[in-house]
Amino acid sequence: MDWGYIISVMIVSAFGVEAIVFGLAAIGINMQFGYTGLLNFGQSAFMAVGGYSVAVTVIELGANFWWGVVIAFAVTIVLALLLGIPTLRLRADYLAIVTIAASEIVRLILRSVTFKEIFGGSDGQFSFGADFFALSPLPEDLAFRIGPVVLNERQIFVLIVGWALVFLSCLIVWLLVRSPWGRVLKGIREDEDAVRSLGKNVYLYKMQALVIGGLFGAIGGIIYAVGNEAVSPDFFGTDTTFFAYAILILGGAARVFGPVLGTVIFWAIIQGTDVFLRSAIDIGVPVLSLMTGTQAAVVRFMLVGLGIMLLMIFRPQGILGDRRELALDAR
């Protein structure tokens, strides 16, 4: 078995575009769920808004890429308000129901035949990152090898910008949650009536957390779009949202670096088990070679699910979480 290949795939996946995209989405969910207790099950809709705003602005409107980013943020705020205004006064479950439905609505609109002229139907949109890559100071023939995996200049530029954005987002989250503003959010997570009884406008704080978390999701969507130079609607399904939740729980909710650590480990395991199982099948390892390659792709999710179950049993606070905080829930 080629362990060098497996390990280099794990390294590339741990720090690849998908790790960045899901890391940003999980940072947004951390703001909403980890700190404020808002169950946003529609993070993929915010990611879709980010990715598609950029793509449609460049291709259909013929405008600059950076206008796309501005539009992405504006639409994200509108979407968050649209979801939040009717639901944030109600119990937490209403937001969960509305967001999961809204994310499917967004995805179905994006892939619909009616709007094929704008969004490109189920194929999505391609090639809109020229303005973004024009900023790259890297030499065009740059190539970076990790074992047998080679990254070209564009990929390296996306990774540099992406990780810079991940750390900038972490810095913003850290600045926000250490402040009295963040203290109000944590109070709302614990008991919003108590916070209300102390004269805080709970509705406003929940709305702010929803918008900020959505914006991180939109940035993730934009990185996905430029990283692949393509957006397709079916990426923005509910499983994308739940991957982001899995990442957050793995890393540790309500911890600034929880989502970052979560995404690195999640993608290393997902892609690592994939190549491991496939090469095990190729060389005919007993038992494992009973599977086909397609089945192996599904089995890796079972393994991750099993891993998360074990984590929940033995370390329910996630890798970075504080056990003391969690133990208090038991009473």
């Binding site: 402040s179 203290r183 109070g187 614990e190 008991d191 009536d193 108590a194 009884s197 102390l198 004269g199």
Partner: protein, 298 residues
Amino acid sequence: MPDNAPETRKEAAQRALADVPRVPGAPKPDPILIADGVVRSFGGLTAVDVAHVEVQRGAITALIGPNGAGKTTFFNLLTGFDTPNTGTWLFNGHDLAGVAAFRVARMGMIRTFQLTKALSKMTVMENMRLGATGQKGERLLSSIFGFLWSAQERQVTAKAEELLSRFNMLQKKDDFAGSLSGGQRKLLEMARALMTDPEMVMLDEPMAGVNPALTQSLLQHIKDLREQGMTVLFVEHDMDMVRDISDWVIVMAQGKVIAEGPPDEVMRDEAVIVAYLGGHHDKALTSSGVSFTEEAHG
């Protein structure tokens, strides 16, 4: 002890209430809170139907009544946590109809809860700091710039430490609120409410689940609130406590105010005894023993 002072607020409150007629809805010389025709029904059940009630400023008023009398619902209505079907209620002359709970709190009317709402996964100190009002760092845009709020944060912390030491909780300041005992949570909730500098404190069953050792200190803290010029309205079942600390008692039964007066007089009131013990004591107890207990829970 405050009793040594020339005239304590306790004496002042009791003197002001001395001439108030002992009837439901009696007008007070200086009411801080006036409720008129407040009705709240849940489906067919009218939980609260208060025609008129006034709460005297600077006094400790107890709101008592048998289970299901509508005391907590009335509390929720007054503090904006629930909306009545009809009625008006004024706090310091401001109409509170349709005012959100957080705005009621900002006006100076702070409540606590029957089931204590300590924010378990935050430390005692963070709980206290959350209570402070007008914090610059609680605004989103200034929150990321620490230098805008760090000075205020130090003031808030100093104030919190002072309050915690008054409540004998300073050594607990870095513990998670969830690790406190029931009584300590009651103390924390009261201390946190005081961080807002309230004019009126509404305590919903402050003694529920508090062990006897802590009861005395909690009682003293409530008396201290009055001496500091605050108005206290509290719901309580423990009659000894009501007799001990309250200047005035309002009795509710089946949603209505049925009696008012100083504690000793109210407890002798015929309507109150009937509400608590049922209306059958003209009959022989032996023949109506069963219905006696049933009514007591009505």
